[in-house]
């Protein structure tokens, strides 16, 4: 018996697909029947090969879309190419982001600008474009990947946490503005998750953080991706404007 998949026939845009959580999100959405525009910064053979395998295995369409989040002209071109396909956009996952660890007093203005540009301004603009497409069919689910740092304000995370808090707040406003037009918007706040971003933290900090979680382990990218699936699907049809912490209980 063929089981019905949770996102059969839906079309999703996911940013930051090359690695870590984004990579897992593409896998889970594809397994659940979604066609995907998989956005990444750089074209690599490895990435394209992975998408091909995923798409044939799951009988879905997956198209790589390349642009640098800090280059607004590139972003516009990417959106135009998506738009030109004249398909409904049902799901947007703003996952791409950069991390930065620095004490408040040591944070430089250049870094503050860069982190806010990538983690807040770019997904904000990108979402503006995508919402226009979603409004055509009056339905959609937007999932923004924030961070537990946005809620907890950890030491050394002033800039990163603030950029993710900005994204979180904007998402709540977006949810309030678009709820009656069939578009939901929610936030996932991952805790400490096994990705390349972890390598920016010292072993000591990682261990301490793990000891502070109820589950005493770091999260897997798959854990975040499965929550994205929930929020992208109709399983969460009455949930909007919410922050879901996926952090093992911090």
């Amino acid at each position: 018996m063929m089981e019905e998949r949770l996102l059969e026939g839906k079309n999703a845009i996911v940013t930051g697909c090359a690695r870590g959580i984004g990579n897992s999100i593409v896998e889970i959405l594809a397994e659940n029947g979604a066609n995907i525009w998989a956005c990444a910064r750089k074209q690599t053979e490895e990435f394209e090969a992975k998408l091909l395998i995923l798409s044939s295995k799951n009988h879905v369409e997956i198209k790589p879309v390349y642009f640098d989040l800090t280059d607004k002209d590139q972003m516009k071109i990417a959106i135009k190419s998506i738009k030109s396909e004249k398909k409904n956009v049902d799901i947007l996952v703003n996952n791409a982001g950069i991390t930065y660890n620095a004490l408040f007093q040591m944070s430089t203005i250049d870094k503050i600008n860069e982190v806010f540009d990538v983690n807040f301004i770019s997904p904000f603009l990108f979402t503006q474009y995508v919402v226009k497409l979603m409004l055509k069919n009056k339905s959609g689910s937007i999932i923004n990947i924030s961070s537990s740092a946005a809620l907890d304000g950890n030491s050394g995370r002033a800039v990163y946490g603030a950029s993710k808090a900005a994204l979180l707040c904007a998402t709540k406003s977006l949810a309030a503005e678009l709820g009656d037009q069939g578009i939901r918007a929610n936030i996932i706040a991952p805790g400490i998750t096994k990705t390349d971003m972890l390598s920016s933290m010292t072993e000591k900090v990682i261990n301490e953080t793990v000891m502070n979680t109820d589950m005493k382990r770091v999260g897997e990218p798959l854990d975040i991706a499965n929550t994205v699936l929930f929020l992208a699907s109709d399983l969460s049809s009455y949930i909007t404007g919410q922050v879901l912490r996926v952090d093992g209980g911090m």
């Binding site: 854990d223 929550t227 969460s236 009455y238 909007t240 919410q242």
Partner: protein, 247 residues
């Protein structure tokens, strides 16, 4: 089929969110001990047909949440099946609305008995089994009134807030044993409990929502499904609002 081959205890299955959860769980392959206050022909038939349709078993279990002896007997009955319990969903609850100074103390105690103490009694019993098997997911149905307050609902909102405190503490105590504990805070859901709310108050609520309509019991049941399933494997100690985005 997110719960294929799993077994769940669900309370409050007679109507509303509980009934919808019974349906959603069995549609997703879960066997269910379906707890309700008292047998009715309609409920028994509903359980039987649902079980046949989904090729699972559903065992109706009856007890009054105000009667600890009845709860104990029911729990023993569940334990005697000697099967693993993957999920416990505490849904059964009641409300008696009155402004603060008009609440008789016996009534406040009764509401806490049903909405909090009996749930804790059931949870103690079931998580003992879960600790032995080293896995399980507990889902407590709280309410947005526990977080926001709700005019005329002191007993109800305070008892539901107690559930949130219990959820967070239990998460900390049980996570290492492989058990996750979360709560849902539904907003205004189209159930019998809300049928008595006057229309003008309902439309006031809807004005504050981002999604301009009441929630449906099946929508709440699908969030419960998420929390019971492995999709939420790294989610514990959380309270998730399912309220259409109330401001």
């Amino acid at each position: 089929m997110l719960l294929k081959g799993k077994n769940a205890v669900i309370t409050g299955c007679l109507q509303g969110i509980g009934k919808a959860t019974l349906e959603t769980f069995s549609n997703n392959g879960s066997n269910v001990w379906a707890c309700a206050l008292a047998p009715t022909d309609e409920f028994e038939t509903f359980c039987q047909q649902l079980a046949i349709k989904n090729n699972v078993w559903i065992k109706p279990i009856y007890f009054d949440l105000l009667d600890q002896e009845q709860i104990k007997a029911a729990l023993k009955q569940i334990a005697s099946d000697k099967m693993p319990i993957h999920a416990l969903v505490n849904i059964a609850g009641m409300t008696k609305d009155a402004i603060f100074h008009m609440i008789p103390m016996y009534q406040m105690k009764m509401i806490f008995e049903v909405n909090f103490f009996s749930q804790m009694y059931i949870t103690q019993f079931v998580t003992k089994i879960m600790i032995r098997q080293k896995f399980g997911s507990v889902i407590n149905i709280s309410s947005i009134s526990a977080l926001d307050g709700s005019y005329g609902q002191l007993s109800y909102s305070a008892s539901k807030a107690a559930l949130i405190g219990a959820t967070r503490t239990l998460s900390a105590e049980l996570a290492e044993k492989g058990i996750r504990v979360n709560a849902l805070a539904p907003g205004v859901i189209a159930t019998d409990m809300n049928k008595i709310v006057p229309e003008n108050i309902i439309s006031e609520h809807i004005k504050k929502m981002s999604i301009k309509r009441l929630g449906r019991p099946d929508e709440v049941s699908k969030a419960i499904l998420f929390l019971a399933s492995d999709l939420s494997a790294y989610v514990t100690g959380q309270v998730i609002r399912i309220d259409g985005g109330i401001k």
